[in-house]
Symmetry: C2
Subunit: 279 residues, 2 copies
């Protein structure tokens, strides 16, 4: 594992590391912000999952999260959004292939060989981070758009693994919208039954009555250009009401799908996670 | 003048506008952050001048200044760093031509036709901004690297025009370093005497004893990769000491030349300017 960037930032360090992923079968990069507290002891980790077209760079350069991570003593790990490289299948499209891994394990050719972002984000990357950095076992997860879908799905599928989960503008029901139809059809095949385990609303509706119900925090811009076509947060609301799953959905007047929206509220999300991670 | 971007951000709006610049003879873009206070009344304006290779996008997407502008009720205007477009002279180089206007008025062919960033930043752009947005007459200026040079030079050349000036990692003595030699030689010609009016240290040393001496606030990373070769802040220190010009130079341990450095301290700079702008 090789450190390819290191920048002092708000008393800590914003780093970018590159490593060979066995799960994905390619070189991968991730950003990690180490707050000042990490120089003195172990810190909890917030995993951030980015949206379509993003690399590990977008969140670390645009969200302004380091200030809040430094304030609360939280490490933030921001992986890339798909396997990458010449030997990795791709599509001539922003919403399929490289930059669009959808945080699932693909079953269909040619994607199945490398597209296992779920295993990477849930298993391989945390093991790597825990082995190399001063982390506690307390983890949280958040993300934006496709990464909001990813955050909800990894938290819902792994009770007890994350202390808290939040999302900005998540794709809450990929089985019902064009982005999900395209990606799931390619990665998982045409049997839509197999899609359900990667859909936050389906996971909530299908959960056991006695199962742990981790509270969901979701921020959504009311002027988001993808609100009606791809995001449809009312589906999440309906699913949570039907299943008795706790949800705080905050509709934000005037806000769009951009990083200006994330920057405006990332401080509240980091504070939310920090409280859960300390608890 | 046409608005090409508008994003809700920290209770205000981050916008990007495009207009025809008569001074530069081309279409230009600038970012403007309107804090929530601008919806209710006039606000002072901080002009931000970016560094080599930047467009109007870098500062507005990476510095995280909107939070502080919203807190203090300051408008921030961030222009592009040079004239642009097919009819505008360029060089196959990151530090000359488009993206590298150096905030001066070029006198040499082929640059003189369009490269008048000094007049644009000091005259045309503020007039345009004042005509279209709810501004007071109170102005401040700041910038990074080449834009730090620009901020110091426009403030030093225009006593009374700016209430305050600050810079991150500025090129304080362009007549003495490779970036300046290359740019000034091309834009101003080989008579180095003509370079002096565009060099902050020379302006300070050459100032009249009784002239207004606007205090300079400068932040500089100690691990900046351009510290010794291009920036040389000790020259600024020596010039200010010789001329009795007030300077606060803050050397920041561990910090480099990146936006992670700017993001870490832009809040202090905005607060500094806000205090002067209110005064």
């Amino acid at each position: 594992m090789q450190r390819i960037e290191s920048h002092a930032c708000f008393g800590g360090t914003q780093e970018v590391w590159q490593h060979r992923s066995g799960v994905l079968g390619c070189e991968m990069r991730y950003g990690i912000y180490l707050p000042p507290q990490a120089a003195r002891g172990d810190c909890p980790v917030l995993y951030w999952l980015s949206g379509l077209t993003c690399s590990e760079q977008n969140f670390i350069t645009k969200a302004g999260a380091q200030r809040y991570a430094a304030e609360h003593g939280v490490i933030i790990v921001a992986p890339d959004t798909s396997p990458r490289g010449e030997g990795v299948a791709d599509a001539d499209s922003y919403d399929l292939g490289q930059g669009a891994g959808f945080y699932l394990n693909a079953t269909q050719s040619p994607w199945a060989a490398h597209y296992r972002m779920y295993d990477y984000v849930v298993e391989e990357l945390p093991a790597l981070v825990d082995a190399h950095f001063p982390t506690t076992t307390a983890r949280a997860v958040s993300g934006h758009s496709m990464g909001g879908h990813g955050a909800l799905v990894v938290a819902l599928r792994n009770p007890g693994r994350y202390r808290s989960v939040s999302a900005f503008s998540p794709i809450v029901a990929p089985t019902r919208v064009p982005w999900g139809h395209k990606a799931f059809g390619a990665y998982l095949g045409l049997d839509a039954e197999s899609w359900r385990e990667w859909d936050a609303c389906e996971l909530i509706i299908g959960s056991q009555p006695g199962a742990e119900k981790l509270s969901l925090l979701v921020d959504q811009g009311e002027d988001d250009e993808f609100l009606d076509s791809q995001l449809q947060p009312t589906r999440l609301q309906a699913a949570c009401e039907a299943a008795g799953h706790p949800l705080e959905l905050r509709m934000r007047a005037g806000h769009d799908h951009s990083y200006y929206f994330i920057a405006s509220f990332i401080g509240e999300h980091v504070a939310h996670h920090a409280a859960a991670l300390r608890g």
